[in-house]
Structure formats: C-alpha cells, structure tokens
Symmetry: C2
Subunit: 336 residues, 2 copies
C-alpha cells in the first residue's frame, strides 16, 4: 500500500478491538477499523476474534501490517453473568484484550459486545485507579448546539455521595480533554435548582461538590435543560443516568423517523413537522392529578395557557361526573 | 346570555379554580375557565383570589350565574415551604378551595400555583384514601401514537416497593378512566427488561407487581420505549418520574422550536429537519468510556455502525496519544 508514512518519533498506538462484538460482528467492526486506520499513520489495531470470519471481513486488507488478528476461540454471550463470564472465558476477545491492555501491549480496548462484561473485565483485569472506589461509564451526548458528557451512564445502579463527587472530578478532566473545553461547567442532575431538592443522595452530593473549589460546579441541572447546554459535564447515579441516556437516544430515533417520514411525504418543512407532532399536545389534559387523596386536586403547570386551564377544568368536571374519586377509593381500600 | 340549558337531572358540578395561580394569574386563568364553562351546562366554577383583578379579568362574564368569585386576600408564594404555607395562610386560594372541597361544596380543585402547596394542602386538608400511604402525581404524556399515564411524577422523591405497587393500582383504574382503555397495560419504568435489573426498589416492586393478578402488569419498560407506547400506565418513584417528565417536556419544547424554525426557513420537510438535526450525531464519539480504571475501555453500542466503530477507535487512539489515562489517574489520586 502506497501511503505517506510520517517518520519522526511518534510512538505507535495500538488499539485492541473486539471483532466479534455488536449485532453484526466482523462485517461491521472490520470496515470501521479500516476507516480509523486510514487517517492516523501512528495507529495499529489488533482484532480479537475468530480468525476465519475476521480474515474474510478484512479481505485484501489482511495484508496490512498495521492490522493483526489475535485468534480467540471463545466469546461472551450478551446475557451471560458478567463476572462469571470474565472468569470462565479466558479465550474470549474481551478477556484477551484486557489482559494485553494490562500488560501494556495495547493502549485502549474497544468492544460493541456486552457492557457488563466490559465493566467486569475492566474491574477484574485492569483494576481501579487509586482514589476511585467506583468507575463510571461516561457518554458524550449531542445537543442542538454542542455536547455534554454524562456520567454515570449505567455502571453503578446505587451510589453514595462520594461516588458522585468522584464522577464529577473525573468527568471534569475528561470532559475538558474530549470536548476541548478549558473550564467545563460541571452540574448535578436533579429535579430542581435549589440545593435542598431531590433525593438524599442529591442533597449530600451537592454539598460535597459545592465545597470543592476546583470542580467548576454550577449547581443542579434540570433534565429539561440538558439539551439546551446547561452544563458541559452532568453527574448522576447510574440508574438515573442510564434512564436519561436511553430516553435521549429514544428521541434521536424518533427524530430520524420523523425526518424520513417528512422526506417521504414531501411535506413543507415546518407545517409537515407540526402536523406530525400535532398529536403531541402537552396541554391536552391541562394538568396532573394527585391520586390517593379524598378528592380531585388537579395541578396545572405554572406556564399553563388559557387552553391548558380550560382542559384542566374539563378533566376535573369529567372525573367528578363519572364518580372516579369514589371508584378509586374502592379500588385501593384494604380488604377487610 | 342565550344558551341552551339542559334540563333533566344532571347534578351540577362545581370546580374550584385558583385564579391567582400560574405565571399570569387571572389574565390567563379566567379565559380558560370561561372556555370550559362554554361546553358543559352542568358545570359551575368558583374562582378563588383577589376580587378586583378577578372581576376585571371576567369583564362582562362577571354576571354569569355559573361563575362565583370567592375573595381570598392571601396567597402562597412559589418558594414558600409548603406545609408551613398551608398552616399559615388560611385565606389563600388553595387553602380555601381545599376546605370547600373537603366540605363537599366543590368537586375538584384546579391550581397552576405551587405544586408543593397543592400536595401539602391535599394531604393536610383532604387526607389520604384508606389503603394509600402516599399519594402520587399522575400526568398524561402524549406519544406519537397515543398517550400514557406516568406516576409518580414528583410527589414522593423516595419510595418503597409497596408505594410503587399502590401507584400501579391507582394508575390502572385512573388510566382506564381517563384514557378510555378497557385493560390498560401497566409497566414499571426500569433500565432493562429482566426482572433482576435496576435498583433494589425496582426489583422488589417488580416482584410485588408480578404477583398481583389484577394489575395488567406487562413488566419493565425502558425509557427509550416510552414514546413508542410500550405501556399505558408507567410507574416509577417521584424522582425518576419527575426527571423523565421534565426531559420529555424539554424535548417537546425543542420540537416546537424546530417546527417554527423550519416553517420560518421554508425548508423542504425531511431535508430541513435532517439539516437541523445534522449536528445531533449520536455516533460521533463512537462509544462510552469507563472512567476510573487503569486503562481506556471504550464501550460501543451493540447497534454500532462501522462509522461508530471507527469513531470509537479514533477516540481511543486520541486519548492514548494525549496521555489522558495518566492525567486522569493524577487527578483522582488521593493526596498523601
């Protein structure tokens, strides 16, 4: 292959890639690897997996000296209990790659396989940094105007305040590096602005983060402001982070479908989108209802329009007319 | 006013409305009330608030026999501690309306004022139904194809499994009524499908709900499937529910802005939307990173395209080339 080779003293970077991971294995992974190799001459890749399908996917590129196949005759299934899989499948791509990473032979490990196995493999085979009790999954989320880094996106379902503080510190450095920001704004994902809002975890984490002078902490960030760029680094526990990330991904998918639908229909821009979304009327019911009390309280948004208020009143009237409060009371009454 | 009046034996429904609630008080509330009155002849409304602005907003409609002004000379501020406000402001609209509701003089209370005060007022002045330990805020959320009922949307920041089970039972009846569904599908909002996924609260709540034969329980629902109509009634704790609701609302606002932008630009439907969204590239960084271990593991989505894999490899190479793992280690190392 005739390609300009940079001489000089740039050290070679070797990235390990699980060739078998993801929905389509080598057929998707290998072309991606070849693309990445095309724009960095200091890069080499080790492809871990079954040699035959990997070589087949490489085709002519199998001769590229910057690509190495590392034969792995086992694999970790998507549903396998992660820690057991790491222990029981020494010849799987993730285990082999992690061991090579630990030994310094590769400088990063990429896998589209089991997230649980990647986390377990990292903990068991790489080990934690000094000062870190729990590692966090950090994801870059695009917004309309920029990006933010979200962590923990799912490694730790239950956290304590110190974990969140540590996530914030790691996120700040990492966010500065990855998003090329000098002074990232670090926020705590919460359901209100005031420091007293949210769970006990939020309140305690807010205190720790506020007291850290080097954090760039901007306080609580509400979920409705995430896509508006309220912070560059957003910290939360793994359950909430995973919930929010998957919801945003769901929006992304929804938008792509909407775009295709509009293109197929040839509809005029804004009008077509408005029609498509016309059904998504947030004011249709006017307000939220408090269930479980002796009555029908309807809580309308502070920003309610007259139409929302009208709908809230209509809903209240309808519930009363249909005897819903009494039927609700009967449904929850303890059995004698 | 010449209006057809239904005679017959339909009892009058009286709805109490906090005229001072919301961002604009009577100027927005009163027109909404008048609209609602226009399509139900069995409806009357009591407007609670300062008599002068309310009368001014009513204008000629002040003579409508179906509208009553109930003068309230106090009000509850948005930031006030709710329980204290209910105790200390007996002449505020929420307190007066709740007392009248308790006395059976009105059949529903609508307010766009402080959510906390509405919840506290309901608990303190209406009381809970037998069999309910915690009431829940239930909100109807529109999806592209239909609606679902989400609860708890914010009344209980910390819940136990029995609370979630109770929310499910209330939500099922209420959802059937409000959404006109014979057999609503009730789901538990979680970060994965399997019953073992999520927090201890999720696992325990799943067990309770699975064991309830009358619930219509369809199991865990993931947030990315919420807008696809995965369930008709979605149950979660108040923190998660509020987080998810506000994110969906933020998304709704984003879509409205996108629609206006497209309309203003006259862009062709799908193409315009695609351009607008062109920046929101979920594959740009290729994967998520696990921070806090001795190395650089990059976890790509199972659904990754070749492009995502390529980007994941590029990110790994970049981080390694810039010595980020060592700098991260230094940032979190405990001070000697």
């Amino acid at each position: 292959m005739n390609r300009d080779v940079e001489t000089g003293h740039r050290p070679t970077i070797v990235v390990a890639v699980d060739a078998m991971g993801g929905d389509h294995g080598p057929a998707v992974v290998v072309p991606g690897v070849l693309d990445a190799l095309a724009d960095r001459t200091d890069l080499q890749v080790r492809l871990y997996g079954l040699p035959d399908p990997v070589a087949a996917a490489l085709g002519d590129a199998a001769g590229d000296p910057r690509v190495t196949i590392v034969p792995c005759l086992e694999d970790i299934e998507m549903g396998e209990a992660p820690a057991a899989a790491i222990r029981n499948r020494p010849d799987s791509p993730i285990v082999r790659a992690m061991r090579d990473h630990r030994a310094g032979e590769v400088q990063a490990v990429v896998s589209a396989g089991s997230t649980g196995a990647m986390v377990a493999g990292s903990l068991m085979l790489l080990g934690r940094l000094d000062g870190v009790d729990r590692p966090a999954i950090a994801t870059v989320v695009p917004t309309l105007e920029g990006h933010f880094l979200l962590l923990d996106a799912g490694a730790n379902v239950q956290c304590c305040p110190e974990h969140l503080h540590c996530f914030a510190r790691m996120g700040r450095l990492f966010g500065a590096e990855l998003l090329q920001l000098e002074a990232p704004r670090v926020g705590l994902l919460n359901i209100g602005e005031e420091p007293s809002k949210g769970t006990e975890l939020c309140v305690a984490a807010h205190q720790l983060m506020s007291a850290d002078p080097d954090l760039g902490f901007v306080g609580n960030v509400e979920s409705r402001n995430l896509l508006l760029g309220a912070a560059d680094v957003v910290v939360t526990d793994g359950f909430t982070g995973n919930m929010v990330l998957k919801l945003i991904e769901g929006f992304g998918g929804f938008l792509q479908r909407a775009a295709r639908k509009l293109a197929a229909g040839g509809a005029a821009g804004g009008g077509g989108l408005r029609d498509l979304l016309g059904h998504m009327d947030y004011e249709e019911y006017g307000g939220a209802m408090l269930l479980g009390v002796r009555g029908t309280p309807i809580i309308a948004h502070g920003t309610s329009s007259s139409r929302a208020i009208a709908n809230a009143v209509r809903v209240g009237a309808r519930l009363a007319a249909r005897g819903v409060p009494d039927r609700l009371a009967a449904a929850v009454a303890p059995h004698p």
